[in-house]
Amino acid sequence: MTSILEVKNLSKSFRGRRDWPWSPKSVALEPTSFTLAAGETLAIMGETGSGKSTLAKLVAGVDNPTSGDIYLNGQKLYDANTKQRCQNIRMIFQDSEKSLNSQRTIGQQLEEPLIFNTRQTAQERQNTVKQTLRKVGLLAEHYEFYPHMLSTGQKQRVAIARAISLEPQIIVADEALVALDPSVRAQIINLMLDLQQDMGISYIFVTHSPQIVKHIADKILILYRGKMITFEKTEHLLNKPQQPYVEQLLHEHL
């Protein structure tokens, strides 16, 4: 299977709060490589602070790597071609609350990526947004709503609507499912599975829920203190003995 995404030796280090040349750098992510095929789902797991969100942000282009390259459809991504990246790799954050602007209606906010990335007319944009709202289980009338009129779960759906409205190739979701209601979570997982089946979207999920990982992931990438210690097909990983750290991550707490 040809891969749509190829990540080569991607790494990230941060300096301390004072950015002096001599202050020691802390490594958030050691050089990491992996590939992802169209229609595949990759789960990134690891304890808090192990570098999951850092890796997700680098792939989504929300943050720039210290070193390493990303290839999308065989083409190297530079920081400059952000437009291509914006359209094809979308990110959903954990905290939808903060990513929404309280001054603008949901409809206006969902239209933004369409304005920047498509040539749709105002009427077309409105239709796309309303369709997308329905796709994520909201109502067309939510177009007129302001964020404060929505519940937490509904805001999360808006975030997902914003990610899928451009029909991207890859969606990176950082803990986007944890805070959702069970029915919404199941609907969103089903929706994401449907979109994957119909449009061949690939997903990168950062999550600490072993149940979700086992259900949706084709491959699992495990980080430990900024280092990738496992990158394997889900069924291979589940069917063999594991080191205690991995065991604990995959253990279903009942």
Partner: protein, 330 residues
């Protein structure tokens, strides 16, 4: 005796379209040391119920109840000052995002110190200072923070999520409340941290005779030790009763769905198969269905359901549904 006794609590909100009930005749009883979990999806009114109990409610809302009693006292009959006093003395609350409720500009030591009631430390100025220092450390110890000197000097942003939640619990229990309300305290936590916090809350309930009202969106994250369970949907009470009874043989379709939808019951499904779920979305306040509000999403709904179902009971549970499941065969 019931510490908390709520009968037919209703909260109404005046909207341009007319009056809407955001909490519809909810009942809740809680004894000392009891753990009661409230489960409901977004907009079910579970946080609102908590706010009504501690008395932080928008003054524009109409709050009515046949009974809203705490420790034998009628909370609704009290004036604001008396109510604040009772709430402040007997109740405490913790939230999903502890870091957001801690003061970013003060150290943890200062914040726990402030939470210690002045009546707890007496004597000379020096004596009081020493006693306070000891109390702060005792509290941290009680919530299972080992590295306390380091934590005490920290600011909230320097703490991991688990430690921050433990600190917020330490602050909450500093005045030995009789009721702890925990609003989704572990929702976004990783499983091992969640287990720790759950064990801690359970331990506190048992060792201090403190009642706990745990609010959560998912039956999978109720406290394992919970004795009673209440399911709310759109402000209506669906089912309530002994947790074990509800989980084994739910009478209400909503309880059944919530069990089916919890991730725990999904590990036998084939990978990437579609998960069971309730269709549709939670209605907006403007479009609350009449009768049983679950109606439009309920797989068992029939014509009858546009009339509000009366309360019905089984041995250990009470529910509102015209067509209950798992009827006992006798």
């Amino acid at each position: 005796m019931d510490m908390l006794d709520i009968r037919n609590l209703t909260i109404e909100l005046d909207m341009p379209q007319g009056r809407v009930r955001i909490l519809d005749r909810v009942n809740l009883q809680l004894k000392a040391g009891e753990i009661h979990s409230i489960v409901g999806e977004s907009g079910s009114g579970k946080s609102l119920l908590a706010k009504a109990i501690i008395g932080v409610i928008n003054p524009a809302w109409r709050v009515t109840a046949d009974r809203l009693w705490w420790n034998g006292q009628d909370l609704l009959a009290m004036d604001a000052k008396a109510r604040r006093f009772v709430t402040g003395r007997d109740m405490a609350m913790i939230f999903q995002d502890p870091a957001a409720y801690l003061d970013p500009n003060n150290t943890i030591e200062q914040q726990i110190n402030e939470a210690i009631p002045s009546g707890d430390v007496t004597g000379t100025f020096l004596r009081r200072r020493i006693d306070r220092k000891t109390r702060v450390r005792q509290l941290l110890h009680r919530v299972g923070v080992r590295d306390h000197e380091k934590v005490l000097k920290s600011y909230p942003f320097e703490l991991s999520e688990g430690i921050a939640q433990k600190v917020s619990i330490a602050i909450a229990i500093a005045h030995r409340p009789k009721l702890l309300i925990a609003d989704e305290p572990t929702t976004a936590m990783e499983p091992s941290t969640r287990d720790q916090i759950q064990r801690l809350i359970t331990k506190l309930a048992m060792s201090q005779d403190m009642s706990v009202l745990l609010i959560t969106q998912d039956v999978a994250s109720i406290l394992p030790a919970t004795q009673y369970l209440t399911l709310l949907y759109c402000g209506q009470l669906m089912e309530t009763g002994k947790a074990s009874a509800l989980l084994q043989a739910p009478a209400h379709p909503y309880t059944q769905s919530m069990i089916d939808m919890s991730l725990q019951s999904q590990h036998e499904l084939p990978r990437k198969s579609r998960l069971p779920t309730l269709p549709g979305a939670v209605p907006t306040l403007r479009h609350m269905p009449i009768g049983c509000r679950l109606g439009p999403r309920c797989p068992y709904a029939q014509k009858q359901c546009v009339k509000a179902p009366p309360a019905a009971t089984r041995e250990q549970q009470l529910f509102h549904c015209h067509y209950p499941l798992n009827e006992p065969t006798s």
